[in-house]
Amino acid sequence: MRGVLLALSVLSANLYSVAQSVAHNQDQPSLQQFFDRAQSLQASGEREQAIIAYRLFLSNALERMAGNRQRIGDHALAAQQLAAASSLRPDDLSLLRLWATAERDADHLEIAKELADKWITAQSRNADAYALRGSILAKLGQTDDEIRDLERAVELDPTLDNGFALAKAYLHKKDEPSAARLFAEMLASTGDTAAIHMDIGRTYGVAGYPDQAIEEFKKALAKDGTLPGLHYSLGASYLLSMGEIDFPQASAEFHRELDLHPDDFLSHAQLGYIALNRHEYATAEQELSRAAELNPHDPDTFVSLGQLYVDTSRPADAETALRKAIALTTDPSRNHYQVQRAHYLLGRILMQTGRTEQAKAEMQISTDLLKLSTLENQGRPAAEIADRARVLHLQQPDASPFDAPNMEPVAAFEKQLAPVIAESYNNLGVLAAQGDNFTAAMDYFTHAAQWRPDLDGLDYNLGRAAYSAKAYARAVQPLGNYLLKHPGDLWFRVALGVSLYSTGDAAGAVATLRPMEPSLPSLPAIEYLYAAAEVETGAAMDGIARLTRLEAAQPKKTELHRMLGKAYLRVGDMVHAEAELRSALRLDPGDTESRHWLSDLLLKQGKQPAAAATSE
């Protein structure tokens, strides 16, 4: 009920320099060492050790890349990279933790919870594991379970981070007394410092307890009035508590913050907001413009500027500012769906300037975002809100949400590593195949293809590995690619033919194996498959002829009689079909397929007793 008037910006922000981390990543001695060692072991024939070394290299490289992605907010890709890393070091719980965290941050909550469960199963007394699962449960809206986990985390390791997480959960559940008790314990253990009071105040403030936040910030101020963000936080809490009534107090605090830290954009932004509400437009524009200059990526500032321009009848400026606010909002749920206001105000401008249909579109977006905001106010789980957003087509566009400046070095690093990663996966595949572990080899080659689709020999390797692992569906494409370039390779032709037939593509199998017709008699198994494919593709008589020749050469082969029986059935020759199927059953009374076909044939001929006898 209270607080609908105000948009409170984040009380604190941490921004890491991706450049710094990427610079660290570009310093690759450790990755290089891993790679060199793996190569050396492979060259010296130490297959098992080489496998371990390549896996170490790859998992470390992927982990490093995922770290970069996490830092720029690309949690989904980070999660994929960490999943791949974890598959290479499946017993590494620190990697599992990173992966679970990335999945959580990417809102893949069920996966994240499964991973966290796995971690807890492996380390049932690890406080961090409970803390992580608690954070996942928070996002799932399972507050009671979240609290249970966080209480366990605190019990196992009463750190400040765990304490604040638990306090936040208590407050989210409106259990302020429990939070207060916890804060008292934290104060007793850490000492009565300005910093701890500030953190307590922030926790109260973000949880919607501005009056309590005010008290804590005042206590912090009494100890150290120069803490960055402290005056701002107090001012923001005044606004949350009493709204416009506390404009003077809030304003004074923002000015105090600026006296200490003149480039605090949040304080400028809030002063601009206050001036805007007071219709002091010149001051509002000055403050908001300065805020925008200090932080051109904060959408809230542009919403306020847009409103200012609306109020001062500058529709063109308003439209520009509001569109910028919308473009900067990568997550529409940010700050309680604040971007809804931008869409609304933009809609008003469009109406006023005669662009009715565009106005309606913006208003509809605003209306839809309000619906999501309502769900949030109702405490619905994040997953449910996300589902609703999808239904309302309010998902983010495909455009990268990340700042280009931060994205470029991350992408460059990955591009630099891609060939080495591909090669490492490829080598792992070769090593696995050498140990007849064709399934693992196939997976490694697949990963290699993902990193470098044009890697030399990939089709050859993947095709052979997949075929050898009897993964015919996955074998088809690489075998086909290789055969296109090497049409004379009989092994690949046969492998492709078998793979196509096994995956139900009889016509493809026939087409692939047809050039080998003259040599098929020397490959009875392949000729049999070819004949079966002919039968299935309508060249049944050719298939029958071929099968008949094979049967003549191998009269005691049950499958030949069975296949001939089926072939005769296909062409409607019941007499020969019955004869062949009976032959198959004489050779192998346990041949259920022949028994089924024969019984079916007899039934269709009206010979029920005979069919029944056959079925027994």
Binding site: K174, Q307, R341, K360, M363, S366, T367, T374, Q378
Partner: protein, 572 residues
């Protein structure tokens, strides 16, 4: 007698004290007639659940046609009492001679029990007798007026029970077939067997264990009058059902686009307001967002409570005032004439107010008869539990009246107007009407857990005024939706007859116009809902006229001549 005498003495002394200061342009005094309208059975003021906090409708109407306004007020109840069968949903006080009010609820047959919320009054069966619709939790009630202030519960046979958590209601003939239809808004979905409890997000406000409106709402209802004294619920068909289940509060019918068809405004708590434009085919188009009245001017959702409309700029277009929850501005919207509204709260000096209580009932009325509508607002927080918070608005809050200076600027003068001389209360609905037929608009206010307050307007000046009682013949008998434009030498004003509005309440259906210094109305133009237009020329001010569709003025009751003599400021 002693108590009454003491009361009179105190009032006189206070009036004298006020006179010693500059008397406000508008002034009221609260009357305490004997017997006093009694409060509902005393219940706790520490209300924890929304269903306990929201009721508060009140109405003024003439149940027996004796020319004097009677009062009907919903009764409070409680969860335990409702489970045991509820309380009589309303109480009817008949105005006897000398401003005495008698509780005639039982004799009137208004005995249906339940949990009353709001009241909407109109003659739904066109028999010339105003009927009463009561919204409530669990079920609503339609009472048919049998004459002589006797009523019969015809809910079942008319199919108007509704249900859920019904709050606002208002009558209008939305399809102009001559029969009044009824819109009902509904609030939070509430199941008394599954109420929110501590630990839930919906049951905590700043650490106090009380329900907050974050739960899902209910759809709204539109009862179409079939003309045979039965109704069909058609909200979905008409496009006014509120499928997203916003939290409906006060409702109001008004022709905002001047096309002769009633449109519908619904105030939604914590959500965008609805403005439904009548498409003339039995359906409506929701235009709240596009029109500019759905949200605050900067695009935020508000805790909207109720609204009223008036020709605030004398331009023949209905502007609107909307009340809201605490710390949120009272908002004045000017009708731009193109389907949109402009927030003029800042220019009107309403947005700058440092004191923004929890506001409920609201109404435009020209209390000083200068031709410009003033604004009356009733305030009070949702529960006395809030009083434990040091920084929040209090449960009992003063009443406010905003005097219109004629230039679009409003000044709050509630204290000086005598509205807060008595005990502070927590208020909800308000109804306006000329209770004592002296040409001044009075107000009766719902007080939670206390008798209603009757404020007689004892403003004295030499301004002329007129009241018009319209009676339809081809149109609905109550003439709801009839639009009257009064032109005098110095101004032109317009208003419409309404059957319910503000916060769950219904005002005197007679239209009142303050005429300032003009003693004659050059023209009184009436646009009847049937489409008939009539024009009465050179009509004298200072009377109550009855005007029947197609027949002109059929009865006249002269009002006392306006006078600035303050000695007349004597309570009766």
């Amino acid at each position: 007698m002693m108590k009454r005498a003491l009361t009179l003495l105190l009032t006189l002394l206070f009036a004298t004290a006020v006179g010693a200061q500059q008397r406000a342009a508008i002034h009221f005094h609260e009357i305490h007639p004997q017997p006093s309208p009694s409060a509902a059975p005393p219940l706790t003021l520490d209300k924890k659940y929304l269903v306990e906090m929201m009721g508060g409708g009140i109405a003024l109407f003439d149940c027996d046609g004796d020319g004097k306004l009677d009062i009907v007020v919903v009764n409070d109840s409680s969860i335990d009492r409702y489970r045991a069968g509820g309380d009589p949903m309303i109480t009817l006080y008949h105005q006897d001679a000398d401003l005495k009010f008698t509780d005639i609820t039982q004799q009137a047959g208004l005995s249906t029990r339940g949990w009353g919320m709001g009241i909407a009054i109109a003659d739904f069966d066109n028999d010339g007798l105003p009927d009463i619709y009561v919204t409530g939790y669990g079920h609503n009630v339609l009472y048919r007026n049998l004459g002589g202030c006797r009523f019969k519960d015809v809910t079942a046979e008319t199919h108007t029970a509704g249900g859920g958590f019904s709050v606002g209601a208002a009558w209008a003939d939305y399809d102009r077939d001559g029969h009044l239809d009824l819109f009902v808004s509904r609030y939070v979905h509430t199941d008394l067997e599954h109420l929110p409890h501590p630990g839930m997000a919906a049951f905590n406000y700043q650490g106090i264990a009380m329900e907050v409106p974050v739960s899902a709402g209910e759809t709204d209802l539109l009862f179409h009058n079939r003309g045979d004294n039965t109704f069909e619920e058609v909200a979905q068909k008409a496009g006014v059902d509120n499928p997203d289940k916003k939290l409906g509060m006060g409702v109001l019918w008004a022709d905002y686009d001047n096309d002769g068809w009633p449109d519908l405004f619904v105030a939604n708590d914590m959500g965008p307001n609805f403005l439904y434009r009548n498409k003339h085919d039995g359906t409506f188009e929701e235009t709240g967002m596009l029109s500019g009245i759905a949200l605050s001017p900067d695009g935020r959702t508000m805790g909207n409570m109720a609204a009223d409309v008036a020709d605030i700029h004398h331009n023949g277009r209905l502007g609107m005032v909307v009340t809201r929850y605490g710390y949120q501005p009272l908002t004045l919207y000017a009708n731009q004439g193109d389907g949109s509204f402009k927030d003029e709260s800042w220019q009107a000096r309403l947005a700058q107010l440092s004191y923004q209580p929890v506001r409920w009932g609201v109404g435009f009325a020209d209390f000083d008869n200068d031709g410009w509508p003033d604004i009356f607002v009733t305030n009070g927080n949702v529960t006395a539990l809030i009083d434990t918070l040091p920084n929040d608005l209090k449960y009992r809050e003063p009443l406010q009246v905003f005097h219109n200076n004629g230039q679009g600027v409003y000044t709050e003068i509630g204290d000086r107007a005598g509205l807060n001389d008595g005990q502070m209360q927590s208020r909800r609905g308000v109804a306006f009407g000329d209770i004592d037929n002296d040409g001044n608009i009075d107000a009766v206010v719902y007080n939670v857990g206390a008798p209603p307050s009757i404020f007689l307007n004892d403003t004295h000046n030499s301004n002329h005024r007129v009241l018009l009682r319209l009676v339809g013949s081809r149109s609905n008998r109550s003439a709801i939706g009839a639009r009257v434009t009064v032109t005098t030498a110095s101004m032109k004003q317009m208003d419409e007859v309404r059957g319910g509005g503000s916060y769950l309440s219904t005002s005197d259906p007679r239209l009142h116009f303050g005429l300032g210094a003009d003693a004659v109305m050059k023209s009184v133009e009436i646009q009847w809902p049937s489409g008939l237009r009539e024009n009465l020329a050179n009509v004298a001010a200072d009377a109550i006229y009855t005007i029947v569709e197609g027949q002109g003025i059929t009865a006249t009751l002269k009002l006392p001549a306006p006078t600035a003599d303050s000695k007349k400021d004597t309570p009766r």
